[in-house]
Symmetry: C2
Subunit: 342 residues, 2 copies
């Protein structure tokens, strides 16, 4: 092939980054401004990236097409939104009963995760960089508490894309409703329950005012990772220096987002409980059924989708080893601390 024209190390460069999240979310959208600021600092103001909310350049769910076509150089998104193109997208973000936040980062940086996902993304002209994680999400807001799996049957539950497949298999009725319309649907009773993210983001949308039963854990999102997508042709044209700038600025933003969620969720949870939110764990029979159906779903997909099969084999082996290790010193340390009066 022909070598791309390399942008010189110190060239002035102006790129655009489109996000799948609205600017009001200072966590999910804010990560892009953190990233762009670091890129600017690292290059003495020469590499400028403007950040854009959905609709400014492309719609929220048009970011993969835009990067693939090269109409925008960069995007930040939750890859599982695109499971309709190929279920493998979800493995780079979150699947029900998947890796937690630290394990996702370990799979990317130390395991084969980044390598395998980059192999997969090549067909979409995408090179990806881990850039953000919310940590384990909450299980959503329910108009009535859920005491057993039976209470979940027929329940109209607003839930993000891929998880809906499992919700359906355990008898729920997944609903696809944009963030801005959830509150009203919950208030009117058009839906019975809705999940969004966790205390900090959920508080902004005010769900606790209309559905006070707040479930945990969000078993379909144990550590969803956001990715920075870069169009491969644009990326290949960068100097080695600018490539490193993208990698390290993304690493900074990746760490910063998880830190923000950890800090802000802790404070927001107190406010929500003071405002009337009632925390409850999902019942054991529901968790067990959801786990069983998730594993069955992954077998079904493996039988049909070779991309998924290749990545999931590595992912599930890594998950087994991680959970074996984490159950000893990490879990017992955390468990002891959580039982203390601090």
């Amino acid at each position: 092939g022909t070598a791309p024209a390399i942008v010189h190390a110190q060239a002035n460069l102006r790129w655009r980054l489109t996000s799948s999240f609205p600017k009001a979310l200072d966590t999910l959208f804010g990560v892009n401004d953190i990233f762009a600021a670091k890129v600017k600092e690292l290059t003495g103001g020469k590499f400028v990236i403007t950040t854009h909310a959905p609709g400014e350049l492309v719609p929220a769910f048009g970011v993969v097409d835009a990067i693939q076509a090269g109409t925008v150089e960069m995007a930040n998104t939750a890859p599982y939104y695109f499971f309709g193109k190929d279920e493998t997208f979800a493995l780079g973000c979150a699947i029900p009963f998947g890796l937690n936040s630290r394990q996702m980062t370990a799979w990317a940086y130390e395991g084969n995760g980044l390598k395998l996902m980059r192999d997969f993304y090549r067909q979409y002209n995408i090179i990806n960089f881990p850039m953000g994680n919310t940590g384990a999400q909450m299980g959503g807001w329910f108009r009535k508490p859920i005491a057993s799996l039976a209470d979940f049957k027929g329940l109209k539950f607003r839930v993000g894309g891929f998880a809906g497949k499992v919700v359906e298999r355990i008898g729920g009725v997944p609903q696809n409703i944009p963030g801005g319309e959830i509150y009203q649907a919950l208030e009117k009773g058009t839906i019975d329950a809705a999940e969004w993210v966790g205390p900090y983001d959920d508080q902004k949308l005010g769900f606790y005012k209309v559905a006070q039963n707040y479930a945990y854990p969000g078993w379909w999102e144990g550590g969803p990772q956001l990715d920075l997508y870069v169009n491969t042709k644009a990326y290949d044209g960068l100097s080695a220096e600018y490539k490193a700038v993208i990698e390290c600025a993304a690493a900074y933003a990746h760490t910063d987002m998880q830190a923000k969620y950890d800090g802000k969720n802790a404070a927001a949870l107190k406010t929500l409980v003071a405002g009337g939110a009632k925390l409850f764990p999902f019942p054991k029979d529901l968790m067990d059924a959801a786990f069983k159906e998730s594993m069955a779903l992954y077998s079904d997909i493996s039988a049909k989708n070779p991309n998924w099969k290749k990545v999931y084999e590595d992912y599930s082996k890594f998950r087994a080893e991680q959970n074996l290790w984490f159950r000893f010193t990490e879990a017992t340390f955390d468990d002891f601390m959580q039982r203390q009066k601090l």
Copy 2:
């Protein structure tokens, strides 16, 4: 004051980084090579940092003095080694029953941790950057299993600096022995037990051959953070661009080290157990006594050391909020996953 002479953005620069860890530890020493490689890439080879093991420039525990005097520009260390200068050093690294790995990063990035530690470090001419975490460490290797606090009385236990204060308060006899001499002391029975890090590093030193009882959790190191120290005068002389280079390369190395430990510990644990290691949890009465004595110790230090008091007040408030939040969705998600056959 006089403004320092600023190094121009693209100047060639050659700095030295001294570590408190030997090169054989590809995790603890290796983080410095990862950092230096990223700095080099980010600057197109203009900013070169050479990395040095203890003894090459200064001894392992001479790094703070070297940075303070400005004889070396950079160091990487576990700050708790320097609690003898001021107990506050330990708060930037690990204290018994302190923050876990994610919480340490959240305290630094999102809480007041980095700001407070930088205020403290100013008197030592140090500016610090989080650069590495081992995750929760194991509780060490015991010649005989420990069934209750009574078994711990009079026990000669090789344990890192600050934790020895609590070990002593619960009846143990802390021993200060360099890493290279632990194996022989354990084999001969000069000591009864020794802690080092976790499966991956411990495997290299072969302790399982002479003391097979492997305790968890390492309650004195729930998430020890390593720091990059930079001499403030050298740092102040850098361009804004090179300052950002240090920050972002350190952030990359910070994330990379935890990922390495998570990945490598999981694999090493299996090997150790296959080699005869017998895992056991510290008994509840020992954990409870150690927790109680730790809190008493922190009160004692707060009464005498205003530096500690200022930082610990913020640290302990953050710890209480984090543990309140983590016990819900993070802990129940992890706990469920750890109980599954994966």
